[in-house]
């Protein structure tokens, strides 16, 4: 579901038009309209998922239908409850096969099995697998009844969020699917469009321009200023890329009358690592908290530090099968654990923000640099005081003024401006990005997107997770 691919919108618009025609044929007042809308939504979901690719479609159907049938058997016959762990193994098996088999067998165990190398991971596998696991746990733990198959499939495969989240819970999304009926509400459509415009501005105008800078800068491993510049660009790129996707998903949901969870809450204004994880990829953080951290004992056991480390290492592995992702998770886990130990030191909010930003942007290097040798060189340079000499700054400046990277100051300036706008709305629950929904802001974002977004868009970074 690549929202930046025009073909997606072609299919979506044609699908919606067919839906409208169907609605005209079936009278709006008949009782069948609700069911018709659910069937139409499911058809659109399945068609769009199938359009992503055959492996994606097949793995999605296998995990979704398999989960439902298994749960159906367990809920009918309580003697089968013992099979619940097998159900989770079944749900996770495609994820392990496509994403981790080569890493564990070839890289960790040195088994050298060429057939599992370079497997193409079905798009969105990590996201919908986690959603189904959460669904199964919630259903079994809370002894909830199984929904109707049609409602379940709409919950499991809602096109706007299936490929890259938000990872929705049963309690949030399923009731909406059960009551789903298409209504034309101009206010809601307007709000949905606002979110879509914001999402496109983030993704196409900011993230895609930053992407070319990261590509041009990342090969450098000697100049510390360029390494930090790459970390900064990548940090902004991944935020605007993923937040952009999430806003478009939220907007599409809203237009159809479905409320999805806000996945980002201005994470770069966090004053602690803990706050950062409450604001970054909110639905994934909650998933790890509820289905891994708390079952491990959470923060109330003697081993709370270990629990944190386990959660973050697993989180790193969720992002990608590689040592660099494990290290990325480990750094965040360590930082969070140390922060908890040192919480008696009451530091000023600005210092908190500065230290959090330094850790977060330093750690992004482990995210984008998959070459271990390069990563080691970059880390060692960053911790060498001499590398920060003025002559290196001058050399970095010269590189940043070339044609390939000449946009760096303008783009970083624009990103900082956007973050400052985010800062205007910092309520207790976290910013809701409301200044971006003012008409003037929307108009500026539209113009900037059409004029500054590169013509060729990159795929969304989180698609590869």
């Amino acid at each position: 579901m690549n929202f930046t691919d025009f073909t997606f919108w072609e299919v979506l618009i044609v699908g919606c038009l067919l839906w409208m025609v169907g609605r005209l044929v079936i009278s709006r007042n008949t009782r069948g309209a609700g069911t018709f809308d659910k069937v139409a939504l499911l058809s659109l979901d399945l068609f769009l998922v199938a359009n992503v690719g055959v492996p994606t479609f097949l793995s999605f159907l296998t995990v979704s239908i398999g989960t439902y049938l298994w749960l159906f058997l367990i809920t009918r016959d309580s003697r089968l409850k013992w099979t619940a762990p097998l159900l989770f193994a079944f749900q996770l098996s495609p994820l392990f096969y496509f994403k981790y088999s080569s890493f564990f067998l070839n890289d960790v165990c040195h088994a050298q099995i060429p057939s599992i190398k370079d497997l193409i991971i079905p798009a969105g596998l990590s996201f919908y697998t986690f959603q189904k696991v959460a669904f199964a746990v919630d259903t079994l733990q809370n002894k909830l009844p199984l929904p109707k198959p049609l409602d379940y499939l709409n919950f499991a495969g809602f096109f706007a969020q299936i490929v890259a989240g938000p990872i929705e819970r049963r309690a949030d999304l399923l009731p909406q699917m059960e009551k789903f009926k298409l209504r034309w509400d101009l206010q809601r459509i307007n709000k949905g469009l606002n979110l879509i415009i914001l999402g496109f501005f983030f993704k196409a105008c900011l993230a895609d321009n930053l992407s070319s800078l990261v590509v041009a800068l990342r090969a450098n491993f000697e100049n510390v200023y360029l390494i930090w510049a790459t970390n900064l660009c990548f940090g902004f790129q991944i935020y605007f890329d993923f937040a952009g996707y999430s806003f478009i998903a939220l907007g599409l949901g809203k237009v159809l009358g479905i409320e999805l969870t806000l996945n980002f809450r201005s994470p770069y204004w966090s004053t602690s690592i803990q706050e950062f994880w409450r604001r970054w990829h909110v639905t994934l953080s909650r998933w790890f908290r509820d289905y891994l951290y708390i079952p491990l004992g959470g923060g109330r056991t003697r081993f709370w530090f270990l629990n944190i480390l386990i959660v973050f290492v697993v989180s790193g592995l969720w992002h990608g099968a590689g040592w660099n992702f494990i290290l990325w998770g480990f750094i965040h886990g360590m930082a969070l654990g140390l922060e908890r130990i040192l919480k008696f030191l009451k530091i000023h909010a600005f210092l908190g923000w500065l230290s959090t930003s330094l850790i977060v942007f330093f750690a992004w290097m482990f995210f984008y640099e998959t070459n271990g040798e390069m990563l080691a060189k970059k880390v060692s340079h960053l911790f060498t005081l001499k590398a920060y000499a003025l002559k290196n700054w001058n050399a970095a400046y010269d590189v940043m003024m070339t044609t390939e990277t000449g946009l760096i100051f303008v783009m970083l300036g624009l990103c900082i401006l956007v973050l400052l706008v985010e800062l205007c709305d910092r309520s207790d629950d976290g910013p809701s990005y409301s200044p971006f929904f003012r008409f003037e802001c929307q108009a500026i974002m539209l113009v900037l997107t059409f004029f500054l977004a590169p013509v060729k868009s990159n795929g969304f970074i989180y698609f590869s997770f």
């Binding site: 072609e10 307007n190 303008v410 004029f451 977004a453």
Partner: protein
């Protein structure tokens, strides 16, 4: 009864309120649609009128087209060279004309326009009995077309939108409806190229770099670096070659492929020549390949300007003269020779 009335009145009031709040949304929605439409049109206008890159290549295309027309008036047949910038820089068509008296026009443009537009443009100005020399960069035939935006932009700037599908080749294109969204400049164009062009600092080549016959000259020199060349033609590349041959056969146009020259170290020459012969062996299945004894390899770094396939005038003249001889003698490789070379 009274309570019934009050309930129905409340419902009516709620419905009315809803309707009025919905109506309040209409001006905002309309304004958003207007801003979107204006942005699309503004971006379109900018690309076609102000973009320095589009302006340069539209100018170059016009120059080449008018020269091709002039050659048509002067004689019965002409030679048309087509390709990307390695063709534009790499073949001194002025020298070919002067030394060998060949009526030749260089339709080499920018590889970033994509193979379909490059070939389509040249084919539109090639008539029966002409000779078409396809000198596309190998990478254009190794990857899927991808339909780059620059090709669409220049097609529209030339007022020849049919070029977006390869002109007379009519190549199938996915997402053709999305072309209108490719008429956007992008940050690099607006924030880097335009200010530098306006302040006469120059980012791209000047218009004066194109000679009348279409050859583009640039005498700067940057030490070239060898590049990696894949060796398997893509499905799109094969379709393009087959379509070009079919069109040329139908229209009585003589066609051959000439490999552009690329820099590599002398030590790596056998490796590169082996790679290129594998490539040419595949091209030879579709069209004859001119028998360039160097197999497209030049080991003299001084022959190259600002890239490993951008020849300077001295290299371009040497290459032009060699190409002229090959065309006049119509010397082509046979498949067995190429296969032997590859081994």
């Amino acid at each position: 009864m009274a309570s019934f009335i009050s309930v129905s009145e409340t419902a009516a009031a709620t419905a009315c309120k809803k309707r009025s709040s919905a109506l309040r949304e209409i001006p905002r929605l309309t304004a958003i649609i207007v801003v979107t439409a204006c942005s699309i049109l503004g971006a379109w206008k900018y690309v076609l009128k102000l973009s320095p890159e589009v302006d340069l290549y539209t100018y170059a295309a016009h120059k080449k087209i008018s020269y091709a027309r002039k050659l048509d008036e002067q004689g019965p047949a002409k030679i048309v060279l087509c390709g990307g910038s390695s063709c534009a820089f790499g073949v001194n068509t002025d020298a070919m004309q002067k030394t060998f008296d060949l009526p030749v026009v260089n339709f080499g443009m920018h590889a970033g326009m994509g193979a379909p537009v490059l070939v389509g443009l040249a084919l539109k100005y090639t008539k029966p009995r002409d000779t078409l020399i396809v000198s596309l960069e190998p990478h254009l035939l190794f990857m899927s077309f991808d339909w780059p935006a620059l090709g669409d932009q220049i097609s529209y700037a030339l007022k020849q939108p049919d070029l977006c599908e390869g002109g007379p080749l009519h190549l199938p294109r996915k997402g053709a409806l999305g072309i209108f969204l490719t008429m956007r400049p992008g940050a690099q164009n607006m924030l880097l190229f335009l200010p530098r062009e306006l302040s006469h600092l120059g980012v791209i080549y000047p218009k004066s770099s194109f000679s009348a016959s279409g050859w583009q000259s640039f005498d700067g020199h940057v030490q070239p670096k060898p590049s990696v060349i894949p060796t398997v033609l893509s499905a799109d590349g094969q379709t393009l070659l087959a379509k070009v041959v079919g069109y040329c056969r139908q229209n009585n146009i003589r066609v051959a492929y000439a490999i552009p020259w690329l820099y590599c170290d002398a030590a790596q020459m056998p490796h590169y020549q082996s790679m290129f012969s594998k490539y040419l062996y595949q091209v030879n299945r579709y069209m004859p390949v001119l028998r360039d004894p160097t197999m497209g390899i030049d080991t003299d770094p001084e022959d190259f300007g600002d890239g490993n396939n951008h020849l300077r005038p001295r290299g371009a003249t040497r290459r032009g003269e060699q190409l002229a001889r090959l065309i006049m003698q119509w010397k082509t490789w046979n498949p067995d020779e190429l296969a032997a070379y590859a081994d």
